[in-house]
């Protein structure tokens, strides 16, 4: 099965500034792909090139096997998009908006079904300018589904939304994946990406600095798992001497790096035999967010410049 999205050597320059600087990635059909990066990293530029809204300066882009710039019409029939900060005609109701899109695309979706899907049934007859931020975004999502798209591009769909609305949008994304549709998600909520995405790519300063499943990225770029024990600093010293593990105290508790799962048992047993007072024990692992912050931070310090692909 060919990739839903293929990007090879993509460059977008505004004057001398390279907003996107030679990136490559592929999105497998039927998966959720999360495209992450700090503000100004080149996320939206990339997405808009994929949607055929901007023209690439250089490189090869294929969406459903088509060039989105030259075959925009065909691509637009087969993709759905909700932009960041979705806006619509103020005096038009949610249901009318869906009917409008349905007529534009010439599809036969049932507006009520779509409204139910995004949990907006009770606002069917509310005008757009009376909807809350979350409701507007849900309507945007419903509109992006009127043409039953093969790929949905969701550009920061949950930014600024309350937890309830966010969860509603998450559940739609999951259902899209179940239906075999591809979802291209940009977000700066790392938790969201970790929860939803099959594959994650992190872009920074126009380059991709990490790519893979969330777990693989954490494994590759994250720190080792750690054991946190409430105990005096002396215990850290003792563990380092006895077992040779990295252990340090931050005053209230000590943190011990674990090379693998057997380490945990050895460390716990040594603690037990130390005779020193200790209390609650917890394991800690890096989240995608920890990795993201570290990667972006390190790159900004210049440390990662050597690691970026040529």
């Amino acid at each position: 099965m060919p990739a839903a999205v293929e990007v090879e050597g993509l460059v977008k320059r505004y004057g001398t500034l390279a907003a996107v600087d030679g990136i490559r990635f592929e999105v497998a059909p039927g998966t959720v792909f999360a495209f992450l990066g700090p503000n100004g990293a080149g996320k939206t530029t990339t997405v808009e090139i994929l949607e055929g809204l901007r023209r690439a300066t250089d490189g090869r882009v294929r969406v459903l096997g088509l060039d989105p710039w030259t075959d925009g019409g065909e691509v637009h029939r087969r993709i759905g998009v909700i932009p960041q900060d979705f806006r619509f005609f103020e005096k038009i109701t949610a249901k009318e908006a869906i009917e409008y899109y349905r007529a534009l695309f010439g599809t036969r979706v049932d507006p009520w079904e779509l409204l139910a899907r995004v949990e907006l049934t009770d606002k069917a007859n509310a005008r757009f300018d009376t909807l809350s931020g979350g409701q507007k975004q849900k309507l945007g999502l419903a509109l992006s589904l009127t043409n039953q798209p093969e790929i949905c591009f969701l550009d920061e769909p949950t930014t600024g939304l309350d937890p309830h609305a966010r969860r509603a949008i998450w559940s739609v994304i999951r259902s899209l994946r179940r239906e075999g549709r591809t979802v291209f998600l940009t977000t700066h909520y790392l938790e969201e990406a970790q929860l939803l995405a099959d594959h994650v790519a992190i872009i920074h300063h126009g380059r991709i600095i990490a790519s893979g499943t969330p777990e693989a990225i954490i494994r590759e770029h994250g720190r080792a798992p750690r054991l946190r024990v409430q105990a005096p600093a002396a215990l850290a010293e003792r563990l380092h001497q006895e077992l040779g593990v990295e252990a340090r105290s931050d005053g209230r508790s000590i943190v011990v790096d674990l090379a693998d799962k057997h380490d945990a048992l050895r460390v716990l047993s040594a603690i037990d035999h130390s005779g020193l007072p200790w209390d609650s024990v917890a394991t800690e692992e890096d989240t995608l967010e920890d990795v993201f912050v570290r990667l972006v931070g390190r790159m900004d310090d210049g440390a990662l410049h050597q690691e970026t692909p040529p």
């Binding site: 809204l53 637009h76 900060d85 806006r87 619509f88 005096k91 038009i92 409008y100 007529a103 695309f105």
Partner: protein, 374 residues
């Protein structure tokens, strides 16, 4: 062009408009207020005596002298005899910038004495509504007086007696018009210009800024379909507002205009032109602020110099020449031709100018209006 999409977009425009009371007020009610306001201002102006320039072709007759004396007696007009041919009076008045003239035909006295019908002809200038109205009123009054005198004394009040003196009105080969008559096509033109221009300039730039064009560009709706549905909406709106304005003008303010289907083509090509022009202005601007500025620069000269409130023929020559490059001039002139002068030939020329212009501006607007950046 896909009719289903145009229809869907038209519905959106219609609903947006119908749910915006301010926009509806400005499109439908405001022009009527303007008619009333301008009609009032210009018909109330001037109460001093008006000089009426008279050619008396019935030199020696007693009744003609009596008629002119009676006219002077009204104090509304003062009679001034001029020595030109009756047939040249209209052009003489025009050349000398005199608003009203009167011709008493040869045989006026004889007809009066012999109970035969005779008409005096009054020439008026519709641009000078005050003087023309005053003179017309005075002449009418004297004619009535004369007819009454004729029936009661000269004729003896018998059954065969009838009013003998009539009034013909003339204006260089056409009937008399009052200011309000000119005001109707002028204000219909005014709303054909302003409604779509102000709205499209605003919409084109703000939809781009808000990203609505970006969203529409991701649907199969094309730019020409989008613009077409706007054109259709404003044509419909113009039909309604022109209907209201003409109706109010005729029934509330007593305007005399020819109610002819010949005006309809102008109600189609006019909005077609100005919807496209508004879109063009909004498209060449980078921000809503500069769009509004460009829109105003284009709109304001047309609002006043195209024959909306004042006839172009009353302008000094340079301003007249300027008016002839304004598209709205041709819309209003064309409507004047069909509604007032029944001059189909000139109306067709005007129509052709506007129609060709509209096509050119429409194509330019569709070309230049981008809903995605390079």
């Amino acid at each position: 062009m896909n009719l289903r999409r145009i229809g869907a977009d038209f519905t959106i425009v219609f609903r947006s408009y119908a749910r915006n009371p301010v926009a509806l007020f400005f499109s439908l009610i405001f022009p009527i207020i303007l008619i009333g306001l301008f009609g009032l201002i210009f018909s109330a102006a001037g109460s001093t005596s008006t000089t009426i320039y008279v050619v008396n072709d019935d030199h020696g007759s007693e009744p003609s002298h009596a008629f002119l004396a009676a006219l002077n007696e009204t104090k509304v007009v003062s009679v001034q005899l001029v020595q030109v041919n009756a047939s040249d009076l209209a052009s003489w008045l025009g050349k000398n910038d005199k608003p009203v003239g009167l011709v008493i035909p040869d045989g006026f006295g004889a007809a009066y004495d012999s109970n035969a019908s005779v008409n005096v002809t009054i020439y008026t200038d519709p641009l000078d509504a005050a003087d023309s109205g005053a003179a017309l009123g005075a002449v009418q009054e004297v004619v009535n007086e004369f007819n009454l005198g004729h029936i009661q004394s000269t004729c003896g009040g018998g059954a065969g007696c009838k009013p003998v003196v009539g009034v013909s009105t003339a204006l260089v080969g056409s009937p008399v018009y009052r200011y309000i008559d000119y005001l109707i096509p002028g204000l219909v033109g005014f709303s054909i210009l302003t409604s779509p221009m102000f709205s499209l300039v605003d919409v084109s730039s703000s939809y781009r800024k808000e990203g609505i064009f970006r969203e529409l560009s991701l649907t199969p709706l094309t730019r020409s379909e989008w613009l077409t549905s706007r054109v259709l909406w404003y044509v419909g709106l113009t039909f309604v507002s022109a209907g209201i304005m003409i109706g109010a003008g005729v029934f509330l303010f007593g305007a005399h205009v020819t109610l002819t289907l010949g005006v309809l083509p102008f109600l189609v090509v006019g909005p077609f032109f100005f919807v496209s022009l508004g879109m063009l202005c909004g498209s060449v601007a980078r921000t809503p602020e500069s769009a509004a500025l460009i829109g105003n620069i284009v709109t304001f000269p047309m609002m006043f110099l195209s024959g909306t409130f004042f006839s172009v023929s009353s302008f000094p020559p340079t301003l007249q020449a300027f008016a002839h490059i304004l598209p709205l001039y041709y819309v209003i002139d064309g409507m004047n031709q069909v509604m007032l002068f029944s001059n189909t030939g000139r109306a067709l020329t005007d129509l052709a100018v506007v129609a060709i212009g509209a096509i050119v501006v429409f194509v330019l607007a569709v070309r230049l209006f981008r809903w995605r950046d390079e």
